[in-house]
């Protein structure tokens, strides 16, 4: 199994994908949070609570959860590019026990996802404190709580990268897989959120679970307000983490099981 993980790591580091991922992490983390901190949530339209309040800091960091589609897309790309460029034939020739290839990919990208999350969270934290210092604001949330929120976000990023790998192994067609992942996160869930009755299951959907894990409920609240329906209550953070991990496990299991007998023509 080690040789397969080394091979997948070599594959990842040999193309420019990792560089794109690094830039993505910096933009989604440090650049975005730094910019928003300097701008100040109180100057948003509509205004949000300032960074000197607890809610203000939570909301700002919670915006990071909007970017989970990036690691999800990266994970999807990693698998679908094998089918697109037909390297999958060589891959399954060198390791005909296909499940081992997929397990190696999942492990590699879980680690890559953690690195991605760590960079996003690390630069976001640095930018938050740097920006606050520049504007001479004392943050409304203690450092330990900020750190905890950032760790939760990093874990969510890693989970979404694994979910992306699962999607990619399942759908194989690069464009279709990317459209499914991004489309689901940005369209389907929002629509479900607005439908009375169905929105009761929202806490159990990936987006809802992410919201409870990251403590960012701005979106859910805003939509609930607009539709004047009852805001669906999110799960507790640990439960949200568990649900999200569950999705990652299901995606991983499908990624391992589905390619087993599929013809590679």
């Amino acid at each position: 199994m080690n040789r397969l993980i080394i091979a997948e790591t070599t594959r990842l580091l040999s193309s420019r994908l990792w560089l794109g991922a690094l830039i993505g992490a910096l933009v989604c983390g440090g650049v975005m949070i730094g910019g928003l901190t300097l701008l100040g949530p109180e100057n948003f339209d509509p205004p949000m609570p300032g960074l000197d309040t607890e809610e203000g800091v939570r909301s700002l960091l919670g915006m990071l959860s909007f970017t989970v589609f990036v690691p999800a897309a990266l994970g999807t790309l990693a698998v679908t590019s094998e089918y697109r460029h037909r390297t999958i034939s060589f891959t399954f020739l060198f390791e005909p026990r296909r499940w081992r290839v997929l397990v190696a990919k999942l492990i590699t990208f879980a680690v890559a996802g953690l690195c991605y999350g760590a960079i996003v969270a690390g630069t976001a934290g640095a930018a938050l404190y740097g920006g606050a210092a520049a504007r001479d604001i004392t943050l409304g949330l203690p450092g330990a709580t900020v750190a905890e929120l950032l760790v939760r976000l990093a874990l969510a990023m890693a989970a979404f990268m694994v979910i992306g790998v699962g999607f990619g192994a399942l759908i194989r067609n690069q464009i279709a897989a990317l459209a499914a992942v991004v489309g689901y996160l940005y369209m389907v869930e929002l629509v479900l959120l607005a439908v009375p009755g169905i929105n009761a299951v929202y806490p159990y959907l990936p987006g809802g679970a992410t919201a409870s894990l990251t403590g960012f409920t701005y979106l859910a609240d805003a939509i609930a307000e607009q539709t004047s329906g009852s805001s669906s209550t999110l799960l507790s953070a640990p439960l949200g983490a568990l649900v999200l991990a569950g999705y990652a496990v299901v995606a991983a299991a499908l990624a391992v099981a589905v390619p087993l007998r599929r013809d590679v023509t």
């Binding site: 091979a7 040999s14 060589f90 020739l93 060198f94 390791e95 026990r97």
Partner: protein
Amino acid sequence: MTRHDEFRIQVDKLTKRFGSVTAVNDLSFTVEPGVVTGFLGPNGAGKTTTMRMILGLVTPTSGTATIGGRPYADLPHPSRTVGAVLDSSSFHPGHVARDHLAVYCRMGGYPLSRVDEVIHQLGISEFAGRKTRGFSTGMRQRLNLATALLGDARVLLLDEPSNGLDPEGIAWLRSFLKGLADQGRTVLVSSHVLSEVEQVVEDVVVVRRGELVASGTMAELSSAAVAAVVVRSPDDERLAEALRAESVQGTRATSVERLEAGALRVEGLTTAQIADLAAEHRLRVHELTPERSTLEQVFLRLTSDPRESVR
């Protein structure tokens, strides 16, 4: 069991259906170890599907394909035993050739020094540091072969390796295959053009529409070549009658065919026998040409669709 039996490829009653299309039908043949076998047939005859079934990439509808008695996936060291080239291009366009080889070198568990060895073996050091995106067909084919040879496998399966190569590339490929054969490797090489492989293959397996048409040594295939004579005569109709009706020195033409006005194709008689018969009947003969049936013609006859060549 002899020393090389572990490299024998055995295809047994292999069938593959894709929906309502039968790509391979009840196909059985053996690829003997230590020789180069040509796997021949027109495009769409099921060669690729068969090779993919031997390699476990496609699951047969029924039947089995084994290497040394085991399915590919059950080999203890698959890439050390069998190397294969299936697609004309199977590289990430953003990878340089060396990195592509490194990925599969790692995957096979070989020391990274193998990368430089196969680069040297295939003579690709010139472009080993370039991205595969801009590779020509010839470069791609060499990189494919380099990947297949990473494990120094004794068995090689090459699907249409000459496709898209220029004459120089085909000549290179031929000498390369020859070299592999001289090293005593088992090679199964598919092609839809016999002439591209005929100088290197010892055995042939010919398929058409997913079914076996012929298999055996090249010599056996050559003996299927029937000698014929083309006769040009202004009296062709009467000559044809005479050839059909009478025997010359106890032999009779097995086939007399009118090619065009003034030309006959005769099987089963020599030029001398035909000339004598014509003289006996006082018929004019302007030309007698023995037609050497080439292997290519035998191949075409074997692989042409009987439904399309009804005379």
